[in-house]
Assembly symmetry: C2
Amino acid sequence: MGAFLDSLRDRVPSDRIVTDPDVIAAYAHDQAQWAPHGSPAALVRAGSVKDVQGVVAVCAEHGVPIVPRRAGTGLSGGANALDGCVLLSLEAMDAIVEIDPAERLAVVQPGVVNDALRLACAEHGLWYPPDPASAPWSTIGGNVATNAGGLCCVKYGVTRDYVLAVEAVVGRGEVVRLGRRTAKGVTGYDLCGLLVGSEGTLGVITEITVRLRGARPPERTIVGYFDDLRSAGEAVAAVTAAGIVPSALELIDRHCLRAVDAWRNMGLSADADVLLLGRTDLPGEAGEAEADAMVRLFAESGATWSARSEDEAEAEALFAARRLAYPALERLGPVLTEDVCVPRGLVPEMLSRIEATAAECGTHIANIAHAGDGNLHPLIITPAGDDAARERAQKAFDRIVADAIALGGTVTGEHGVGLLKRRGLHDELDPAVIDLHHAVKAALDPAGIFNPGKIFGTPD
Amino acid sequence: MGAFLDSLRDRVPSDRIVTDPDVIAAYAHDQAQWAPHGSPAALVRAGSVKDVQGVVAVCAEHGVPIVPRRAGTGLSGGANALDGCVLLSLEAMDAIVEIDPAERLAVVQPGVVNDALRLACAEHGLWYPPDPASAPWSTIGGNVATNAGGLCCVKYGVTRDYVLAVEAVVGRGEVVRLGRRTAKGVTGYDLCGLLVGSEGTLGVITEITVRLRGARPPERTIVGYFDDLRSAGEAVAAVTAAGIVPSALELIDRHCLRAVDAWRNMGLSADADVLLLGRTDLPGEAGEAEADAMVRLFAESGATWSARSEDEAEAEALFAARRLAYPALERLGPVLTEDVCVPRGLVPEMLSRIEATAAECGTHIANIAHAGDGNLHPLIITPAGDDAARERAQKAFDRIVADAIALGGTVTGEHGVGLLKRRGLHDELDPAVIDLHHAVKAALDPAGIFNPGKIFGTPD
């Protein structure tokens, strides 16, 4: 290890290398509280692509694993340290290199915070849509690594849909540019798209070119109150079946509302067990019609109350509560986070099964969901230090994953596999498909240094 | 070869195997008239995934290359036969397996013609957007192999944006399903997206699940007449810079209009050297405003005439002429097709350079373009059998490719690399990126049988 650190210091400025275990400890895991993590050998706070190149070259030479990380807001353990690894933090590479209004694109370093990019684009009348609930803290680099989704994705797509090009350090330290700046392009394989969502296992992304849209149109908000998860799910399926593509369709239950209110004292009412929050951004009459249709479909699906929100501040508070639900629940105890995604028509069935699982396993499950996508986040909450509760939670987790797969769904809609969903990945994918993953990984990471074991490694 | 054909007959029904050279000859190349092709050993008209599996297994065992093909409408030679190869035709696998209106997806076999899918979707009030000009003949399988674009892609994206999942036969005959049926999903690498646009070099796609949209909204058409390419290009750049995303923005010049009219006698007027055809599909007042803005921007950019088309039949005829331009020009002699794509703001500069290249090389270049995408199709026409003209054409081709790369563009926006654009690919991509291509290819095609030499193989 001494020889390794000496080589590292030859390539990377010393003030960027941290070996103090107390400092490193804060970087050793992301927000997946249930995922294990090891003890890193060093933390490198890269300041440039040259620093990253140095780390990769030295790690390749010495066979030391690299775990890239940005803000550490991941929910699957993808950025968790491996024993003896270099934690390669890209937080300091946080420049917005360029915003080009004519070509509608932006070039950013990986450490740029999602909301910071959105704000900078807004100054040019432009919009970067992908909006994970973690947008105030998570970075574009992390969003790209996990192919993050968010609230507006039901209409506007996920991170991969916006990544035009990346610069990455791959192999043994080669810097490559993948993708393009043009609107279209098919020169060679879509290696840029392959890197998106690869959770740091194929290289370290050092720059990202994203596509932008015109300024976000104003939205109308529709609120529905429901007595149970299933009827809220029926409303989601009804909206989809009616051919409506809302600009958001979010579910949040009473547990989450209360947790947020207890934390932030937002004066949220929780007059229902489950809330659906719909939005439409169609202009003029089309928007009026879509909003009216959602109010009606909510009611027909069993809402005890549904209406267009006439109070913009109230609507904003409800969406803010949706975004804060996860950190609010974390305050109550370790949260085991699901991220299953099912066909939209099966949302009611999946929500019913989640309720049944909570009852059968004797565990507490709060629910938020990008319901319009079929992407559900049952959040399993256990009192800290209660081993029996922990076992029941794990049982519920496994059952929800199995149900999602049985319904033709997927284990992870937007959080990534990391460590937590590895077992689910092995349940979901055929062995022949996992073999293809190993082949691609071996081909692009011949030294085996990039976040090894994550995604499709053998689960514990 | 005898042993190989015997093995093939053991695995694939004899009536699906063709060895008659006269029959095979018609399948030996696509529509890239300048690309070379070899002599295939056999043609297999697969009727099922089992047939495809048989072909792949036997070819892997005997080291025989497979060139997959569907309708043969490709414009880069991607489906051209290699010496001694099996031409694996998937035309007979032309079933629309499923259209699911609730989930807004369709499952099709690769031989389904693009327009046939669009028609079938329309019966459910749904829309499959990608619309290459070849849509009446080209197949979804071929569209997926090349990641085809089309007219509406300026607003609605390309084929890859619509492919949710594929079934493919890979390796030595393994059948794998890649991708998902859900709206979102990040379980593992995006191997589905990797196969899209891989031109048959990573496996044979046997089924495709595509995302659909709601019924296409009605459109307004805007027509602009221009005296030269550059001013039409200025109008394109002005539309983009104004933040307008038209549902189509096509360029067609007088040569193409005349060629179509001479062929189909459509009574097209050609009162200008260059036409721009814009469309907007925004509803209500927003659509009115966008149409008016395009009329104004065309005029301000130097149009000699610009107006909204009040005659739907005339507008349709102009778009039909755009779609028929390529086959119409083909009647006049071998066409060497460009497919460069440049940043939208540089469309005027690129069009100027194309005009200059035509003059300097003494060659005849007609122009059509998905101008709103920056995707230009200069079509270099030579009299059959005129070797000197052929040399001048090749020189012009190379100069246009070099200009596109110099302007930050790409060699191929939507046609694929095939054989014709291989030299351009090597000019465009860094050697380190080409190395990654070879590594991926070797990893996923260990037997080296899938369309070897296409895309990034050493150009002649």
